[in-house]
């Protein structure tokens, strides 16, 4: 039984070229994936992993974050509107909820919901020159991991960790 689709980035393949970020920005106006780097230079695109048990959805006081039929965690703007707690942003362990200056002030990846409706995949995945970001079944991920990708992922987790935690 499949547990839904998600995005998977192999950080060891990412060269930090920012194609994902700019393609997202072109497609959605406000980018929902952001390139950062660790202190020692590992490139880290911050992205939504569409968690099985999403902390953002649990933290949302209005139930504005819901899973869709493919497994994407979707932000419903009409419910979100007016909320000032920003609980979702604080709750996300992957720093993948973004505060913006437009609309409901929060932007998050919906795995290109409108594109999926017409049979296309997430735009970032289509255009990544390195094939570092993939649109996969969640249970496929273990078979995609390599020694190098795990090492790079570990570095990224240390980078994302809140100081003192």
């Amino acid at each position: 039984m499949s547990c839904g689709k998600t995005l998977y980035i192999d950080y060891s393949l990412c060269i930090g070229c920012e194609t994902c970020e700019y393609v997202c920005r072109f497609t959605h106006d406000t980018s929902r994936i952001h390139m950062t780097r660790t202190v020692d230079g590992v490139m880290v695109p911050l992205y939504c992993l569409h968690c099985e048990n999403p902390k953002c959805a649990n933290a949302c006081p209005r139930g504005a974050l819901k899973k869709d039929k493919d497994g994407a965690v979707i932000l419903q703007p009409m419910l979100c509107r007016g909320c000032q707690t920003k609980n979702c942003i604080l709750a996300c362990p992957h720093s993948a909820m973004f505060e913006t200056d437009r609309g409901v002030m929060v932007a998050k990846c919906d795995m290109c919901a409108q594109r999926r409706q017409v049979g296309m995949g997430p735009a970032c995945v289509e255009m990544c020159p390195c094939a570092a970001i993939r649109y996969v079944d969640r249970d496929e991920i273990p078979s995609l991991e390599t020694e190098k990708s795990k090492q790079a992922h570990q570095k990224v987790l240390e980078h994302l960790k809140m100081p003192g935690k």
């Binding site: 060269i15 930090g16 070229c17 920012e18 194609t19 994902c20 970020e21 700019y22 393609v23 920005r25 072109f26 497609t27 390139m35 780097r37 660790t38 202190v39 020692d40 230079g41 590992v42 017409v118 049979g119 296309m120 735009a123 289509e126 255009m127 990544c128 020159p129 390195c130 094939a131």
Partner: protein, 360 residues
């Protein structure tokens, strides 16, 4: 491996719309624009001096970072699905004397720009940044001194059997690499793979400031590269060929100079944009940040995108710029066909967008 999908904006090709666009340069910005326009039914013809579409994604960045087949197959998909026509080995004349830029030796055909403007409804220039920055020190014209691109380019290009391209001869030699960007790192890696006896890596600041990050530098050190930070090249020594490199670095009592006994010097210190007809097209304004979103004032159906517009940057920015320029071009042609050009936004300045225009 799935091909990169430059046609990512449409699920199937559109009906031909009867318009033709010429795109000069098949790098990331050119191919992104090609994908956008072919999705709308434009007949797109792409001109590139190199033997294959892909630009520096294929010829500058090593294959272990960007898989060759992903780009290759992506270009083929554009041909099959989008009906795109690629003219490789073709240069549109000319921003400088031929053989002035890296990769010019591939040209078999040179087309005049004027003919292009007449042949197509609109032109987009996506020629990127192909002229290497110079060190500006004595001895830098000696044989044995390379730019980063001069050194890296043949390593990929030699596979396409161009008679004038040969691998840099580093077997058993000592090499000095200058710079700490990703291409400098790639040069050092390549030098080791090609059998260099000794590689010195010279950078004017410390590994903490290096654009490539200290992780890459630690990996180089582990491979045996000698990392010399806070060091600047002063002069290249030698008669007729490189015999050494004099560098200056901080010593106990002020700066000291030492001589590295090297046979090759590779200065991977960046490139500058090489747009054709920079003056005629008003591209000198580029650096002043006065460029409008991709509409050229001097020749109205000529657009520009990517590094040629905004200087060397990342692939992502080039892609975005190509997409924006393509949208702008399509808008302009649509409005022109309806005789409504006054509705076109000529004042969409690149500089108005946060994080764009000049390098942050």
């Amino acid at each position: 491996m799935d091909p990169i999908n430059f046609n990512f904006l449409c699920s199937e090709p559109a009906m031909p719309n009867g318009r033709s666009v010429g795109i000069i340069g098949a790098g990331p910005s050119g191919l992104a624009a090609t994908g956008y326009l072919s999705c709308l039914g434009y007949q797109v013809e792409v001109y590139d001096k190199l033997p294959k579409p892909g630009g520096l994604m294929l010829f500058g960045i090593p294959g272990y970072r960007i898989p060759k087949e992903r780009i290759d197959l992506g270009a083929r998909r554009l041909e099959r699905q989008g009906g795109v026509i690629f003219h490789t080995h073709t240069k549109i004349c000319c921003s400088g004397p031929l053989h002035d830029e890296e990769g010019d030796h591939f040209c078999r055909e040179i087309l005049g720009f004027g003919d292009m403007v007449k042949k197509h409804d609109a032109i987009m220039i996506c020629t990127g940044s192909w002229r290497s920055r110079k060190l500006g020190i004595p001895g830098e014209n000696l044989p044995g001194v390379f730019s980063g691109l001069e050194f890296l380019f043949p390593i990929r290009a030699v596979k396409y059997s161009a008679p004038n391209v040969k691998l840099p001869d580093v077997q058993g030699k000592a090499v000095a690499v200058i710079g700490a960007g990703h291409s400098a790192i790639d040069v050092a890696h390549s030098a080791i793979h090609l059998g260099a006896a000794k590689v010195y890596h010279i950078y004017r600041r410390t590994s903490r400031e290096a654009p490539c990050g200290s992780f890459e530098i630690e990996q180089l050190k582990a491979m045996g590269v000698e990392w010399l930070e806070r060091s600047s090249p002063v002069r290249v020594l030698g008669e007729g060929r490189v015999e050494g490199l004099e560098i200056s670095r901080p010593g106990k009592d002020g700066p000291e100079t030492i001589v590295l006994p090297v046979d090759l010097v590779v200065a991977a210190i960046g490139e500058v944009a090489t747009p054709p007809f920079a003056k005629e097209l008003g591209l000198e304004n580029v650096r002043k940040g006065e460029v409008r979103w991709l509409h050229m004032t001097a020749i109205e159906n000529v657009f520009v995108a990517g590094d040629a517009l905004s200087g060397p940057s990342k692939i992502g920015k080039a892609v975005y710029s190509g997409l924006r320029a393509a949208r702008s071009l399509a808008n302009w042609l649509d409005l022109k066909a309806q005789d409504r050009l006054d509705a076109y936004d000529y004042n969409d300045l690149v500089a108005n967008e946060a994080g764009f225009g000049r390098q942050a």
